[in-house]
Amino acid sequence: MLNQWLYIGIFVVISLALPAVAILLARILSPKKPNKIKNSAYECGMETYDKTWVQFRIQYYLYALVFLIFDVETVFLFPIAVAYNQATLFMVIEAIIFISILFGGFLYVWRKGALSWY
């Protein structure tokens, strides 16, 4: 198993290194003539107004929250899916109960309107 992870590790390093090397090469090859106008932020053709790191609506957070809960749920369904062929009907029903408890929560959140984008 470790060999498989070793390959993954090597691949991660390679896939980070390839674009990094390409960008570095291009950085060396390309001309560097910065000036003040060129380096200004590209917004509406005007000076950037106020703080850039503006605040955001709560909706993004709500989606991320629901996503987090369902992500965790799905991750722990994967081992059960692997064990599915050896499971009895009772175990399958347990898995269904596990999903439907969260599905109930999902329906509540839906009814409450937290999933709608106003």
Binding site: I58, V66, G105
Partner: protein, 175 residues
Amino acid sequence: MSVQQLFFVVFALITIFSALMVVSLRNLLHSALWLIMALLGVASIFAILEASFFAAVQILVYIGAIAILIIFAVMLTHNIMSVAETQTNRSWGIALVMVVIIFFIIITQISTWPGFNTRLQALNIPGQDAVLAFGTGLVDPQGFALPFETASVLLLAALLGGVFIAFDQRREKKS
């Protein structure tokens, strides 16, 4: 030092350094990015431990979901604490001393345990065996069926509580 030990040391150093940056940087978003790095380091430690499933879960849940949630929260609440302001409270010196003392207490205590220096051999778990055993254990009525269902209730409570707290209907209606 064998190759495996070398890998372990490298990843452990990455993890510890990133954790240090997480607790010491002033810019919160940089802290969050270093947190991602620390979590990746922990994931590779899990891979060395042959807990493949948890290495993948670490990346998926912690980096893909929790870290993203933290970044979202940082951006939702930004512009409050300026970077120039100090980010630690006055008692950081006491905390540091306490942490160092606790570290030595822990190490001296657990090093008395005879299994402390056991060398972990490769388990050589073939294919899906570990995941299969885990999956069966989770839904097995003799195993961990009840904790598993309870975990689902915990997640449900977190979902409802989180949405209920964060979702302000009055304000949403007004806008």
